[in-house]
């Protein structure tokens, strides 16, 4: 058992609530989502910077990916080293469908999700039987297998050069994604809706089931929960959101490259979660913003970004020993307790 799990297991089993109060929280979630979207939507009018919009689009791609990874790591205790395969799968499926068939964007979107769901179900069924580090290894192995396949199939996937020639963006219901601002608004909408959906998952009874499994799978099984089925379900759900992140990235770079399915994407997902913290819902979003800012500013100033990034990671891993949001939350809790006991 890992330290994280040991900590959790000492807490009492939390039970889900499905009464008026928690319905109230759900409406509040929607309000927050609307407010967040309003803030993001106003940015193009407050600032003329295209780079800012680019930044938010990338945050949206990585943020969806990292938050979906946290569904596995933070909420279910499933450490996946290969989650990036779904990011890549989403990008490639979407790209291929748009390039090769004349499909409209909503149709390609839905089709990509369907393909991802099928692949995730098959891979998940094999992987979730395994425990802990072996689950991590086998997900990594599957990711490298998919990456190898993408590279070895140039006639279909373009091989190491990826999908070239750009991804067509036909207008759908009046939305034209070749317009930068509209692409930005579309990505923000996907981000907000995606986060809202994932929030509903973790706050639902199913979400509490996952926490139970994370804290003590044996106990959960004794209570009658089908652990394997729950794990598979969240594995597939997380894959879907990762695929949406991949689609946003594909639209942003107007292509899909094998790097999207390489283990470094999974690694970045893990860093983001560690940077931002796995115990809060928005931790991964904070981590995404942090990592992207770090990445963008460091490469501006030095060629030796490895040393800088390494030191920052050490600061979080050895110094703070927890993600930023975890740190903030714990610090706030300590303040409250100190204030209360005064």
């Amino acid at each position: 058992m890992t330290e994280l799990q040991a900590e959790r297991a000492t807490k009492t089993l939390t039970t889900p609530r499905d009464d008026a109060a928690s319905k109230g929280w759900r409406y509040l979630d929607v309000l927050i989502a609307l407010a967040a979207f309003a803030v993001l939507a106003s940015l193009p009018f407050l600032s003329s910077s295209k780079a800012l919009l680019d930044f938010v689009i990338r945050c949206s791609a990585y943020g969806l990916f990292a938050t979906s990874l946290n569904l596995l790591v933070g909420y279910t205790g499933l450490t996946s080293f290969g989650h990036g395969m779904f990011f890549g799968l989403g990008a490639y499926s979407f790209g291929l469908i748009m390039q090769r068939t004349g499909a409209s964007i909503p149709l390609a979107f839905v089709a990509t999700l369907a393909i991802t769901a099928i692949v995730a179900t098959v891979i998940g069924a094999i992987c979730v039987r395994l425990k802990e580090i072996y689950f991590a290894f086998v997900t990594l192995a599957f990711q490298m297998l998919i990456y190898s396949t993408i590279l070895s199939w140039p006639s279909f996937t373009g091989g190491d050069q990826g999908l070239r020639g750009g991804i067509p963006r036909p207008v759908f219901i009046g939305i034209d994604l070749s317009n930068h601002v509209q692409l930005y608004l579309f990505s923000c909408a996907l981000l907000v809706l995606g986060l809202l959906a994932m929030r509903q998952i973790v706050q639902s009874p199913f979400g509490y089931t996952l926490r139970m499994i994370r804290d003590n799978a044996k106990r959960a099984a004794f209570i009658g929960i089908h652990v394997w089925r729950a794990k598979l379900a969240i594995f597939v759900m997380a894959a879907l959101f990762a695929a949406i992140g991949g689609m946003v990235m594909a639209l942003f770079v107007s292509g899909a490259y094998p790097e999207f399915a390489y283990w470094t994407i999974s690694g970045e997902g893990i860093f983001i979660n560690m940077l931002g913290g796995v115990t809060t819902f928005l931790g991964p979003m904070v981590g995404t913003v942090l990592l992207l800012i770090l990445n963008d500013t460091v490469t501006r100033f030095t060629d030796y970004h490895g040393i800088v990034l390494g030191i920052v990671i050490l600061f979080f891993a050895l110094g703070l020993r927890k993600g930023l949001m975890d740190f903030v939350v714990d610090w706030a809790k300590q303040r409250r307790e100190k204030g209360g006991s005064a």
Binding site: Y134, L151, I270, L318
Partner: protein
């Protein structure tokens, strides 16, 4: 896919022998590189993701020493000793802090150091690829053994790899020190209570694992091009070998490495464009059938 070529090779005894020989050579080289990783995991229960970086240091130390002194033996010693010292410092100052932590924290610390080490090597030696060159003693014709072609240099490497396997295998199983190490792996509290300095023990084992990585790098240097970041592909391969063989098992790593070598060797005949993929496919199959690897034990 070129199944005809594969079938033809399996049918021809000359091809069969040569490909098997080269498969064994590849496998032994893989084992030499991977054994340090599996040792550290077996004893310290930590996956040393900096393994590739120490391989890289071993190669660079050896090359610099060889260029300065012209002595191959000294180069190997420098490579091994340098990485042992570096490994000891790294373990005592940094790794020991994250032994009990989440595997993701350990991964992060190691990855941070891989980034730092790669840039340090770039700063000190420069980003261009370098070559050590084969020492004159080994610039000889290859030997013909049992119908297969074997360069004498690879015989040296295989010899060292086998020696490492035997020393570690026998050492851990039969000697007193080996027993203490295995006991510390199983029950560190008890061993410490018996008055044995587990900290020093862990440091020594970690340093030994890094030394093996550095030794492998130093020995590989004459036949590889040296570049910052060369440790990465080695890490992936070592990882696959140890996972297939069973983390912590020396014999598992040996068998796993040999199997991978044979798959590469025959795979390049039958599946020239998917040889890598075959390796990952094999890894998936083994993990699904036996998650702890071929010879692995269930981790507590």
């Amino acid at each position: 896919m070129d199944l005809d070529a594969l079938a033809g090779c399996l049918a021809s005894s000359a091809c069969l022998v040569t490909q098997t020989t080269s498969g064994l050579i590849i496998g032994m080289l893989l084992f030499l590189v991977a054994v340090g990783l599996t040792l550290i995991f077996g004893v310290l229960k930590v996956v040393n993701f900096t393994h590739g970086a120490f391989y890289m240091f071993g190669a660079y130390f050896a090359m610099t020493s060889y260029q300065a002194t012209g002595s191959f033996v000294l180069a190997i010693v420098c490579g091994a000793a340098g990485t042992a010292i570096l490994g000891l410092i790294f373990e005592r100052v940094f790794m020991s802090r994250v032994y009990g932590a989440n595997v993701l924290m350990q991964l992060l610390v190691c990855y941070a150091f891989v980034l730092i080490f790669d840039d340090v090597v770039r700063l000190v030696w420069g980003p261009e690829f370098k070559s050590m060159g084969m020492p004159a003693a080994f610039q000889v014709m290859p030997l013909f053994i049992a119908g297969g072609v074997v360069p004498p240099y690879y015989l040296l490497l295989i010899g060292v790899a086998l020696a490492a396997a035997i020393v570690l295998g026998v050492g851990l199983a039969r000697t007193r020190l080996g027993k203490v190490i295995r006991a510390a792996a199983d029950n560190p509290g008890m061993v410490s209570a018996l008055g044995i300095n587990t900290g020093a023990l862990y440091g020594a084992v970690f340093a030994l694992g890094c030394m093996l990585a550095g030794l492998a790098g130093a020995l590989a240097a004459p036949v590889r091009s040296l570049t910052p970041g060369m440790g990465f592909s080695v890490l992936i391969e070592s990882f696959i070998v140890t996972v297939i063989g069973g983390m912590g098992s020396i014999s598992g790593a040996l068998i796993g490495a040999l199997l991978l070598g044979l798959i590469r060797s025959f795979g390049s005949q039958g599946f020239p464009l998917f040889t890598d993929g075959l390796m990952y496919l094999f890894m998936v199959i083994v993990l699904v059938a036996r998650p702890t690897g071929l010879f692995g034990k269930e981790v507590a």
